[in-house]
């Protein structure tokens, strides 16, 4: 292998002076995804044509993925619809790598969820693996130790033969990467729907903890400070558009085809995590940024924009895996497991000593300057000279056309009211079991048992509980809970309401564990923004989420937008994933999601209305999607959460389980399945009080409801609490035996429940080790 500096085949770089001298040279901006207007604007900014290196940087940084050019207009609401209470515990808000929330006792939690949808369809294993890797590096770059991951997965129809390919690849990719990093996987979501057939959604969430004083930000301050690249070497992976660009500049015989999907090395990332944490402990880093989308282009321009504004880099100092890479490819490479740090010169030796200890390759690329320009040299020649803000922050912003979907009125008019409600007990039993055995409600342990949920020793709750929970402080027991939710069917019917429903469910799931919801992150998965109907869905969902967060007074700390999720012209259902973070002062006070003891009273909190539009029942039993999703009243959700917190503080709740998809029937089944303790339940009083029939009582998805178990001796106290707060409460049964008996309707043994729920995924995807 030839050393880079002496490579005889190195093509001449397109320098700044060359760009000035050849203003009319044609450039492949369109192939790089830039419009003619955008290209013209770059020329205007620079006062000349861009060099090919500059064009590479602008094209990736102005892409939808990096610039949020279609969504920015709407995302501003998250910063505008804010009350003072929402800012109180927010240490870092939107715009940084991840939001940071003060959780007390000097601790902070940072979390973020991000999409890796398209790579995961093309190459499910590496796409999903590097999705985990990327989000974890976002967390490290805040100065935090990553402590858990979760994944929000949406696949095509379970019976479609291609689904198994994607499911196997994605699951093993997450398993391979997350397990090898030593991060517990504590929850997430898995849905199957034909709308995701050609475009699965693979969202990855990571969460980290830090002491307040360890907070790090991505900025390059301090003229003369060194800019250091460390971690894996830079290779040709993850270069999408660059190969198009490179075809212009490549010499004969150079590699032309680059994989567009990155390849992950979790061991390198694990070592990088420990190395970064040791660097933070030694206070050896002034600013830090991970390298993800757009690689060095993104890291240099963002660090410089957020700091003193100037930076000088010698690009040939980048350590390469493949010495034939061109300057443009190095700028755009998305090779994984790399970080960029800003280091004071007097700390450089100590910095290098730490990276040497961890065998992490490191190269000093350049330094922070006061020129206000990002200047990049390649073997002594200037190939980039730009104002970094124009690359990183001042990309185009579009006001895309928005149109109310032509089909929506008809869809909303087609309600579930016309669907047949069975009254015969045996038919209701059949419906109950077909829901429990439907792919979306069935047991997901085929997937989750491929993930390590134990490592780090702080997992207080994990799948299949309503939320994951991690202990932050081993002395005090301080911890956090995390739940993520999205219901694409609801959002298809009404994206404004659908987003609020996702928010309400995540809020309720966190409250069900005994934690107090405090912060939101989101991952907004939609079709093409160039489709005005999709843009309308997006605007509605963002508005619904922003309004809802303001109403709950819970801040949105950050998030991610993924557009272009569609197959041909058919967009996915709008799928805004909401992640809710909650705080609990001692994880020992967490509430189990299932029943562990016989003889406890079962209470249903909240009111059940006939709300079956968009429900699992309508979908599974009748193959129906239409009408309007359930109403959501956020003050009611707050009252429910407050009631639960009050009851838990008196230690009188034996279990709590959120009611959502599949309604009361599914909540009852899951509560039995958690520990194998059954129950006797009667619905007569509920049906009478709420004026509903058995179908509605069992399967309605009304919000603001929770199923709780209370020991008999605490009964009076619990009822008193509910009555004092005016929250609707009804005793519907008692825990008993190992069967689920719904009196007058049906009895199903725990074994049959388990067999029904557990058989579904293995039947399609093969046996597991369980």
């Amino acid at each position: 292998m030839t050393a880079v500096s002496s490579s005889p085949s190195r093509p001449a770089a397109d320098t700044v002076s060359n760009a000035v001298a050849t203003p009319d040279r044609e450039q492949p901006y369109a192939a790089l995804g830039l419009t003619a207007d955008e290209y013209a604007r770059i020329r205007e900014i620079l006062g000349r044509r861009p060099t090919s290196g500059e064009l590479a940087m602008y094209s990736v940084m102005w892409s939808e993925h990096c610039s949020y050019k279609s969504s920015k207009k709407y995302l501003r609401q998250f910063g505008q619809k804010v009350s003072p209470a929402m800012k109180k515990n927010l240490m870092v808000g939107m715009g940084e790598n991840a939001g940071v929330v003060d959780v007390g006792q000097g601790w902070a939690v940072t979390f973020k969820v991000e999409s890796h949808n398209h790579p995961s369809y093309i190459e499910p294993f590496q796409g999903a693996a590097t999705g985990v890797g990327g989000i974890v590096r976002d967390i490290i770059s805040m100065g935090a130790r990553p402590v858990a991951v979760m994944d929000q997965l949406r696949f095509g129809a379970i019976e479609n033969p291609d689904t198994a390919r994607v499911v196997h690849g994605v699951t093993s990719g997450i398993s391979f990467y997350g397990n090898c990093l030593g991060l517990p996987n504590i929850g997430g979501e898995t849905y199957f729907d034909a709308v995701y057939q050609g475009n699965p959604l693979v969202n990855a969430l990571s969460v980290g903890v830090l002491r307040h004083e360890d907070l790090h930000l991505a900025n390059a301050r301090g003229v003369g400070n060194k800019v250091v690249l460390f971690g894996a070497r830079t290779g040709g992976d993850g270069i999408g558009g660059a190969s198009i660009l490179a075809s212009d500049t490549f010499s004969e015989g150079g590699p032309t085809k680059r994989p567009a999907v990155q390849v992950g090395d979790p061991f390198a990332e694990k070592v990088l995590i420990e190395c970064c944490l040791e660097l933070f402990r030694g206070k050896l880093v002034e600013g830090i940024q991970d390298l993800g989308a757009a690689g060095i282009s993104c890291a240099t321009s963002e660090l410089a924009s957020n700091g003193d504004g100037g930076m000088f880099i010698e690009l040939e100092r980048v350590l390469l895996r493949d010495p034939s890479l061109t300057a443009e490819e190095i700028l755009m490479s998305e090779s994984q497991e790399r970080m960029m740090a800003v280091v004071a010169p007097e700390k450089l030796d100590a910095f290098l000593e730490v990276t040497r200890k961890w065998d992490v390759e490191t190269s000093v690329l350049g330094e922070v300057t006061d020129t206000g320009r990002l200047v990049i040299n390649w073997h002594g020649e200037e190939i980039v000279n730009v104002e970094p803000r124009t690359v990183a922050l001042e990309g185009p912003v579009y006001d895309r056309p928005v149109a109310y979907p032509a089909w929506l009125d008809a869809l909303q008019a087609d309600t579930a009211d016309s669907l047949r409600h069975e009254t015969a007990p045996d038919l209701l039993r059949t419906q109950f079991l077909s829901l429990l055995g439907s792919p979306n409600l069935a047991d997901k342990s085929w997937i989750t048992d491929q993930y390590d949920r134990y490592v780090l020793g702080n997992t207080a709750l994990s799948f299949p509980d309503d939320a994951g929970m991690i202990r932050v402080d081993e002395e005090s027991g301080l911890g956090f809970a995390l739940a993520t939710d999205a219901n694409g069917r609801y959002c298809q019917l009404d994206p404004y309401q659908g987003a609020r429903l996702a928010l309400a469910e995540a809020f309720r799931n966190v409250a069900a564990t005994g934690a107090t919801p405090v912060a939101v992150s989101d991952c907004l998965n939609f079709g093409s923004p160039e489709n005005p109907e999709v843009m309308w869905q997006f605007s509605q969902a963002v508005e619904g989420l922003a309004d809802g967060c303001l109403e709950l007074e819970i801040p949105v700390t950050g998030g991610n937008v993924s557009f272009y999720n569609q197959t041909g012209d058919q967009p996915i259902h709008p799928t805004p994933v909401v992640a809710m973070l909650g705080v609990i002062d001692d994880v020992a006070k967490r509430i189990p999601s299932g029943w562990q003891d016989e003889g406890h009273n079962l209470y249903l909190l909240g009111v059940t209305r006939q709300e079956l539009d968009g429900s699992a029942w309508a979908g599974v039993v009748h193959g129906h999607l239409g009408g309007r999703p359930p109403a959501v009243d956020l003050p009611t959700e707050q009252a429910l959460a407050a009631l639960l917190a009050a009851a838990n503080s008196q230690n009188i709740l034996a279990s709590a389980h959120d009611l959502a998809d599949g309604g009361l029937a599914q909540a009852l089944a899951e509560s039995v399945l958690r520990f194998g303790v059954g129950a006797r339940v009667a619905l007569g009083e509920l049906m009478e009080r709420d004026g509903i029939d058995a179908t509605t009582a069992l399967f309605s998805e009304s919000t603001g409801r929770m199923l709780v178990a209370v020991p008999r001796e605490d009964d009076v106290k619990f009822r008193g609490l509910c009555e004092g707060r005016g929250y609707p409460v009804l005793r519907i049964g008692v825990t008993d035996g190992a069967d689920l008996e719904v009196q007058g309707l049906f009895t199903v043994s725990a074994d049959e429940l388990r067999a029904t729920s557990r058989a579904v995924l293995p039947a399609v995807f093969g046996q597991s080790g369980l």
Binding site: T171, N179, K270, W358, Y451, A460, Q596, F675, G769
Partner: protein, 231 residues
């Protein structure tokens, strides 16, 4: 009463093993794979993880780490040494224990609360159990299938060197349902399941009594501490 826990690049459950030592009443000592120094500890734990990514055979590269020279010498002189999961793989790669570990028969990583039977209670790490005691501790690995040639298996069975056996469905295709083994002297024990994750109420496996309350793994660490105290 000082138990060393060695961190290799890619070790994951090292801090968890340290916590388990502390919960058992011992003093955990963090050791680094690149050193030739056991810091005067009384016993050693090789923790779980994916040392060097396990891109070669699991544990193969770590078994060549500098500190392994001291580990082998200490083991041969009778110091209690426990290898958990990746640590078990290292002990077989370093020939302190016979046989080897291969990819799970199901082909995937498996994480579950695993029932085991304690088959040998005369080792440094199992003397606190009762013979035949059934315990539950978490299992989580991708390459946990224990293999050895027939002759070795016959010797292990004949000399009572099988320390733990899987109960219920064999989770990874291990021959003879072997979950863990000991050397003849009883000071070196390796197993695939993770006793350090069943040592603290609230963070272990579920039990019939309460969620995540299982602490069956604690006995392994108290066994070693008692042994050191007695010795």
């Amino acid at each position: 009463m000082r138990i060393g826990v060695i961190t290799f690049p890619g070790s994951l459950d090292d801090r968890d093993a340290q916590r388990a030592v502390r919960l058992a009443g011992g003093e955990p000592v963090a050791l680094w794979h690149g050193d030739h120094d056991l810091a005067g500890v009384d016993a050693l734990v090789l923790p779980g993880g994916f040392s060097y990514g396990d891109y070669l055979r699991a544990g193969a590269i770590a078994s060549l780490s500098p500190i392994m020279r001291e580990v082998v010498a200490a083991a041969n002189s009778g110091m209690p040494v426990l290898g958990i999961c990746n640590g078990f793989q290292m002990l077989t790669e370093a020939h302190l224990l016979p046989g080897g570990l291969i990819r799970n028969e199901v082909g995937t990583f498996v994480c579950k609360d695993q029932k085991l039977r304690v088959e040998n209670t005369s080792t440094a790490w199992t003397n606190g159990f009762e013979q035949g005691q059934e315990i539950t501790i978490p299992l989580k690995n991708g390459e946990g299938g224990y293999i050895a040639d027939e002759e070795t298996l016959a010797r292990l069975e004949g000399e009572g060197l099988v320390a733990f056996r899987y109960l219920g469905k064999n989770p990874n295709g291990s021959l003879r349902d072997i979950a863990g083994i000991t050397n003849a002297r009883g000071n070196v024990v390796g197993l695939m399941p993770h006793p350090e994750h069943a040592t603290e109420p609230g963070f272990g496996p579920d039990t019939p009594t309460a969620m995540r309350s299982g602490v069956d793994g604690l006995t392994m660490f108290t066994s070693a501490l008692q042994g050191v105290l007695a010795g």
